[in-house]
């Protein structure tokens, strides 16, 4: 039987290739993701370890403020360094500046943006091995107008030693002479992807916005003293500060990046799984057809005395071989893919000196999921058929009547139940990853709908789709329609692969369009009287230069100028304390597990961490439409807080109340609720602090105007002239943009488009696999219908007509799959939007991107036609005489 299985396999190489491709693509994607994730994690770990390898202990402020931007701590005074140096077992201790408060200006005069990537960082130059980074050329900065930088950053931007380099800080732009290049590793020839810039102590402190202070203090132990011992002895001399060991410090730092990589890997894996699921449809389909075609052979084997078990075994062996080979190829492909991606993002995270070799664990995972999935889908279609081969041996495939959907229906029902359970689990939040559960649940239901509903709809849908042509007696269309509906299960299974992809595309398209239109509407409404918005780049902590707020008012035609700062603080009212008590800081779990923790966050009072916009008391609430404003925003400007009315009510605040709060930089502060407003600029826009309050309590480096709102006179042309003036004013800050309302909204929603594009890119794989499936199914169907095509050609069908009949069949299948996906997708989008807005009905108004949906359908039809080119050609090339004499 082994030989039979092997011979079968070798006799159908071409078919194996097409089937294999589906598996290969899916596995390659999955294993590529796994390998890449592994490589990234390892690289990040080793890089972070390398950066901070000189640190045996770190002294930092115990005050900590969690915010959406990460963890913030106030700086440490310079004199603490001297105290630390008195600790027992210490070799050296230095105050370190490490702050993301600068941007480099490229030789083209534009800001070298960090975008989503790692930030540009200010470091102070320390002439000791404790310093992150090793010199590989030149020397460290000695004068205040000198600097050193990461060699990769210099290379990427064409800087070399001796060049003058412009740097933008929060308050000033300055020029420095590049005197040294650094890197990681013992030779200083590796890069971390972040852009570290080194300055003298004074300059670094200024650029970081904390003169006379350091971000933290790093200490190195003398030989023979362990990190723990050093941390303890340092802790003894500076009891007011928090001390962690170098290992803990490193771990906390790599944790954040690893989390990001983890999310990335998970996301991509989800799409990989989608691709594999789609591929399994193809495999299921292919083998269903092959088995049907092989009934005679199987019947012969049984007739000459093969046991049913042997026949099944032969099939399973064959399946296992195909699965194994395709998986191995997929794994190799995935590793190559990962290597390629690694090369692409090599600038972001260095993985130099490391092979992109598949980790044994990942390799096993990939190969295992290959044949296993393959066997599962392959074994299934075979059993019922083999049982019937004796009486089906004479049956010619292709024209078979519609058969009851026994097993498929059972599977469908199970999937629906499973899906509902998953969604219920997800929605009731009894599990950690709600979204994953809801998503998986919807996915199960999607599969079952595609599997159960598809076959029932395939026939009617094909007829409806081809009606415009068939009603006029077009026999080519009629044949395409009949061929598409003659075996509804096959059509449905082929289309289902596309349905899955299209459903996801449509969900994303509909949600994105809805979010975009809601956001646009909301911003448009909220902008009120604001005509121009001046802001620094979205990922910049530089802010708008202060002179804009100071001098914009004197520009001809400017009516109002309203700078907006932002602050983060901790609410210490009853509600805040209750929330803190209910959520014992989840972020510290990892550190607890890591072992000893030196008073992490203990000194800060418990409360709820919030982010607030700043407001200019004089005009903000008049310029920006936040609904009904109660109270006087101009009261107590030094400690003013404003809150969204509903939030205020929930927390039991009324205007005039004192609200206890805590700032990382200044500790506990009593705020005064000066006003409430009914509508925030978004669901998270609940709190405002007056700009003065922000400035008084800001962590150094965070007292910035992230935007300045400007209202102009209504005369025609005034807005344009003011915009030109403002642009002139910010000329030396290329990162600052001056936008009118339309441009601002465009920029705010651009991220949605980027997100959608990325998701489309990931889904493209599933769609491509689905198209391969259509091509594959049709190739097999064409083979099955050799006789029929021969007859058609004999009685006068031209090659052209035959090609079109096959292509039209593909188009019918593709459009059917697409429309089904569209209906399910829209339904899911409505369901998700409803779930998302259950608490806040105004949050999202559903909007169908009609044009986009039509384009998707047309593209699907075209893609179907393209997918059918090879089988159509094959059909047309058939020798008529041979075809009609085929048994």
């Amino acid at each position: 039987m082994l030989r039979v299985a092997f011979k079968d396999l070798m006799a159908r190489k071409r078919r194996l290739v097409t089937t294999g491709i589906a598996i290969i693509l899916g596995i390659a994607f999955l294993s590529g993701t796994q390998v890449l994730g592994g490589v990234l994690n390892d690289s990040i770990d080793s890089l972070v370890t390398d950066v901070y390898k000189g640190y045996d202990a770190v002294v930092r402020s115990p005050e900590v403020q969690e915010s959406a931007f990460g963890e913030f701590r106030p700086p440490v005074d310079a004199d603490v360094v001297d105290q630390v140096r008195t600790a027992e077992g210490i070799r050296a201790a230095y105050g370190i500046i490490e702050a993301p408060t600068v941007q480099l200006i490229g030789s083209d005069g534009k800001v070298i943006s960090s975008g989503f990537g790692p930030p540009t960082l200010v470091f102070n130059w320390i002439d000791d091995p404790i310093r992150p980074g090793r010199l590989n050329a030149g020397r460290g900065p000695e004068a205040d107008d000198e600097m050193a930088m990461d060699f990769a950053t210099a290379e990427d931007n064409g800087f070399s030693i001796g060049d003058r380099v412009e740097v933008v800080g929060q308050k000033q732009t300055a020029e420095f002479t590049l005197v040294g290049l650094l890197g990681l590793g013992d030779e200083g020839n590796l890069t971390s992807g972040v852009k570290p810039l080194y300055f003298t102590d004074t300059v670094a402190q200024e650029l970081a916005g904390s003169p006379g202070q350091y971000s933290y203090i790093a200490a190195a132990a003398v030989e023979g003293v362990s990190e723990e011992q050093l941390a303890e002895s340092v802790s003894a001399v500076v009891p007011d500060q928090q001390v962690v060991t170098g290992d803990q410090w490193t771990e906390q730092n790599s944790e954040q990046i690893a989390q990001f990589v983890g999310i990335l890997t998970t996301t991509v894996t989800v799409f990989g799984v989608i691709a594999v699921v789609v591929a399994s449809f193809i495999i299921y389909n292919t083998f269903s057809i092959i088995v049907a075609q092989r009934t005679r052979e199987t019947a012969l084997l049984r007739a000459i005395g093969a046991h049913r078990r042997q026949v099944v075994l032969a099939t399973l062996i064959e399946a296992a071989l195909v699965g194994l080979v395709a998986s191995v190829v997929g794994l190799i492909g995935g590793t190559l893919l990962a290597t390629g991606i690694k090369a692409l993002i090599g600038t972001a995270v260095s993985v130099q000196g490391r092979n992109c070799a598949a980790h044994p664990r990942h390799a096993c995972h990939g190969v295992r999921s290959g044949p296993r999935g393959h066997l599962a889908v392959r074994g299934h279609p075979r059993h019922p058929r083999i049982a019937h081969t004796a009486d089906r041996g004479h049956d010619r495939g292709g024209g078979g009547p519609y058969r009851p959907l026994d097993i498929t229906q059972g599977m469908g029902a199970m999937l629906v139940v499973g899906g509902l359970v998953l969604i219920a689990l997800g929605l009731t939040s009894t599990v950690d990853d709600e979204l994953v559960f809801v998503g998986a649940g919807l996915f199960c239901i999607l599969l079952s709908v595609a599997v159960v509903l598809g076959p029932l709809l395939a026939g009617p849908a094909s007829r409806a789709l081809t009606w415009p042509l068939t009603s006029r007696g077009n026999v080519t269309a009629r044949l395409a329609c009949e061929n598409a509906s003659r075996n509804p299960r096959r059509t449905a299974a082929t289309a289902a692969a596309l349905t899955v992809g299209v459903t996801l595309v449509v969900v994303i398209a509909v949600l994105a369009a809805s979010i975009k239109s809601s956001v646009t509407e909301e911003i448009e409404g909220a902008l009120g009287d604001v005509d121009l918005i001046v802001s620094a780049g979205q990922f910049s902590l530089l802010g708008v230069p202060p002179q804009v707020a100071e001098t914009a008012g004197s520009i001809e035609g400017v009516r109002e100028v309203s700078p907006v700062k932002f602050g983060f603080f901790r609410l210490l009212d009853d509600e805040g304390r209750r929330i803190a008590a209910e959520n014992p800081d989840p972020d510290t779990d990892a550190e607890d597990a890591a072992g000893q923790v030196f008073g992490m966050g203990d000194d800060a009072p418990e409360g709820e961490d919030v982010v607030a916009n700043g407001f200019e008391p004089a005009n903000y609430f008049e310029l920006v439409d936040l609904g009904e404003v109660v109270g006087n925003p101009e009261d107590s400007p030094g400690s003013a807080i404003a809150a969204q009315a509903e939030v205020a009510e929930e927390r039991g605040w009324s205007v005039g109340d004192t609200i206890p709060a805590y700032f990382a930089a200044t500790g506990e502060v009593d705020l005064t609720l000066v006003a409430t407003f009914t509508n925030g600029l978004g669901p998270e826009d609940k709190y405002y602090l007056s700009n003065e309050t922000v400035a008084a309590n800001a962590t150094p480096g965070f007292d910035i105007d992230f935007a300045v709102y400007i209202a102009t006179d209504d005369n025609p042309g005034t807005r344009e002239s003011v915009q030109a003036e403002l642009e002139k004013l910010t000329e030396d800050r290329p990162d600052v943009v001056v936008q009118d309302r339309a441009e601002f909204i465009e920029a705010q929603t651009a991220i949605i488009d980027v997100f959608v594009a990325v998701v489309y890119g990931l889904l493209a794989l599933a769609v491509i696999i689905a198209l391969i499936g259509i091509a594959n199914t049709l190739s097999l169907s064409v083979l099955e219908r050799t006789r029929e095509f021969g007859l058609l050609r004999a009685v006068g069908m031209s090659k052209r007509q035959l090609r079109w009949a096959v292509r039209a069949e593909a188009a019918v299948i593709a459009v059917f799959g697409t429309l089904l996906g569209m209906v399910i997708g829209i339904a899911f989008a409505i369901a998700l939007a409803t779930a998302l807005t259950a608490d806040d009905p105004g949050l999202l108004t559903l909007k169908l991107p009609v044009t986009q949906l039509v384009v998707i359908t047309v593209l699907a039809a075209l893609a179907g036609i393209v997918a059918a080119i090879p089988p159509a050609r094959r059909a047309a090339r058939m020798d008529v005489l041979q075809a009609i004499s085929t048994e």
Binding site: R787, G796, L881
Partner: protein, 253 residues
């Protein structure tokens, strides 16, 4: 029987199709096979001609070449005024569609189309409106009026062949080629089909060329042409089953 050397012959009826010194070889060198070895034959209009011969005699090859499904190695075949070697593949397709009717031994019908659709298929492919009165007459003749909406799988073998005959007739072709049309049928269904073909010639003035190895079937024809080893060895006008059988015995097959 009286004329053992076949020659092209014309009558008042005219010639619907024919072959002139038709040769068809397979393979080359020592292993060359002459499937047709210089066949010259005419098929008269409005006559029912049978081609007989043992297996491998070249009768199917002759028919395939006459019908534009295969090409000769040498010599010529013609349908009406047209020499088929002057046509390219697309023109041959059009010729088959518009001027030739086919009845094969089995698998004559497109399973997804109804009987009615199968009957008008060649005209639908041409995008031509069928001559409804003619089609109705044909359908009545083969007694399929109440079966037009059925799919092939819902019809008996005999009914399926009747649909095939109706399809062959529906476009009023110059000539109909039938390849063992009764080969897969029981004798009753078989004679029914032959009866219809006879009626098509007698009543509807159609021209039919039928390949068969069944003397009973050949007896329905006006004339029988005998083929052996790729050559026409004899012919018989107004054959009877006994006479054909006797002749075949004499040939030693």
């Amino acid at each position: 029987m009286s004329n053992p050397t076949p020659t092209p012959q014309t009558t008042q009826r005219g010639v619907a199709a024919g072959a002139i010194d038709a040769r068809k070889d397979y393979g080359d060198g020592d292993s060359i096979v002459h499937a047709l070895d210089g066949v010259t034959v005419n098929f008269e209009r409005a006559r029912f001609t049978a081609i007989m011969g043992p297996s491998g005699s070249g009768k199917s090859t002759l028919m395939h070449c006459l019908a534009g499904l295969d090409r000769l190695s040498a010599g010529r075949v013609f349908i009406g005024e047209t020499y088929l070697d002057t046509l390219d593949d697309a023109e041959l397709t059009t010729l088959r569609r518009d001027t030739i009717g086919f009845v094969f031994q089995a698998f004559n019908l497109i399973p997804t189309l109804t009987a009615g659709e199968n009957i008008t298929l060649p005209m639908d492919l041409a995008g031509r409106k069928p001559d409804q009165a003619w089609v109705d007459q044909v359908v009545r003749t083969v007694r399929l009026t109440d079966r037009l909406d059925h799919r092939p799988s819902e019809l008996s073998g005999g009914q399926q062949q009747r649909v095939a005959v109706a399809r062959a007739l529906s476009g009023r072709p110059e000539i109909i080629f039938a390849d063992e049309p009764t080969g897969n049928l029981d004798s009753r269904s078989g004679s029914e089909i032959l009866e219809f073909m006879r009626a098509a010639v007698d009543e509807l003035d159609q021209t039919i060329v039928m390949v068969t190895h069944d003397p009973t079937a050949a007896a329905w024809a006006d004339r029988v042409v005998f083929l052996v080893d790729g050559r026409i060895v004899d012919e018989m006008v107004s054959p009877t089953a006994e006479a054909v059988l006797d002749y075949l015995k004499q040939l030693g097959t």
